[in-house]
Chain length 208, copies 2
DNA sequence: CTCTAATTAGACCAAGCGTTCTACATTGGA
DNA sequence: TCCAATGTAGAACGCTTGGTCTAATTAGAG
């Protein structure tokens, strides 16, 4: 019998249970039995749709990547029409995320922590996800006409990581607001630097 | 038979093996057997000196906390006599750490990732460690006479976390230098803010 | 020497793990 | 109606896990 990749009720339930459990309990901390119970699905169904537990993990990481990037992009687009405000909205998105009751840090940071070897397939998926996020942030910075947008995006991404783990290790530390404050300083200092004259420009570069 | 807490060759070997393996492979990813083999010690010795695997984990987290903070403080003290330079040296310490062949991120971030529940004893130890680190950074900022040193320390700590996970998930990303660059901007922007006049001060605050 | 504590080697155990297998029920199109 | 796909329930397998037990050996202090 071959493992089918087509979506079906059982497959969906498994993937959904996997998303919740792998994220909140960790991968090694989640047993196949726990997933089956949560999904309310027979043992055989798992191995009908996925090669193994590891196959289910890979599927989880892929949908998590897709969904998370979608959440962030949807949020910043909904947050404002102004492209600079959208950059700042990244950190409002974080604050929103952190306040969710099942927030357990970044699934990909956690996965990279569990599978420390950078050659491990799961670790590779994690760094690929981070590359995509960086790319999305670059796009936002470019849209806002921010100078040196690639370097800025790297800085903003680092702030994001810092906020995520700070809030994870020490919940309630308001790390999203902290990161947003730093981002503001970075962006303002960059705008100043880009100004041709030695004096601080009095009018702001963006329209509104 | 009672578990002895006094240091002895076998106990030391166990703790050392635990430090290496728990750090690089994760806690759940390290079996008792693997520790015994690495320590070159009999099974019984483990349970003579530690209540259980979890007891050994707790011991590991405590010595890791002690050692890591010691490493950082020793590094910044050795780096310079100038108290401001010592603040910046935090990120040189990170670069040094990242370049070590067994670098696997922060043991405490990893532990908090593995044990997501904030009530879990290991998670609590992790956030306690981060509180100590924050305190050490505060002390450095205060020594450098930096205005609003507690708030600044929080920012610098967030940068540190960001650098650590960035380098962990994506090795070779030069995250320590990136974080140091941001720290420089933060500190300079703070110094400007503290200056009484509207103009940018021309002479630097530190002597060298 | 002798007592005591530390250590060793390895069998052993119950529980959990991921995985496979068998057997049966449901269902929807050809 | 029949077929094939999809599902269920649950036993079973082989391996690993953390932890216990027994018995023998080592080594330092009085």
């Amino acid at each position: 019998m071959r493992t089918s990749t087509r979506p079906t009720p059982a497959r969906d339930a498994l993937l959904e249970a996997a998303c919740q459990l792998f994220y909140t309990q960790g991968i090694r901390g989640t047993s196949v039995d726990a997933i089956l119970e949560r999904a309310g699905v027979a043992r055989q169904s798992l191995y009908q749709h996925f090669e193994s537990k590891d196959g289910l993990v890979a599927a989880f990481l892929n949908v998590r990547d897709e969904r998370w990037c979608g959440w962030m992009n949807d949020f910043v687009v909904a947050a404002s029409d102004d492209s600079l405000e959208r950059v700042y909205a990244i950190y409002d998105f974080l604050a929103d995320w952190f306040s969710q009751s099942d927030f357990s840090g970044c699934a990909f940071i956690n996965t990279a922590a569990e599978y420390g070897n950078p050659e491990h397939p799961f670790h590779i998926l994690s760094s690929r996800h981070k590359a995509r996020v960086l790319n999305d942030i670059e796009t936002l910075c470019k849209a806002a006409n921010l100078p040196d947008h690639k370097a800025l995006a790297r800085q903003l991404a680092l702030l994001m990581e810092g906020a995520i783990v700070t809030e994870q290790v020490t919940p309630g530390s308001n790390a999203a607001a902290e990161a947003k404050g730093i981002a503001r300083i970075l962006i303002q200092s960059r705008s100043n630097k880009a100004a041709p004259s030695r004096a601080v420009p009095l009018q702001s570069r963006s329209k509104k």
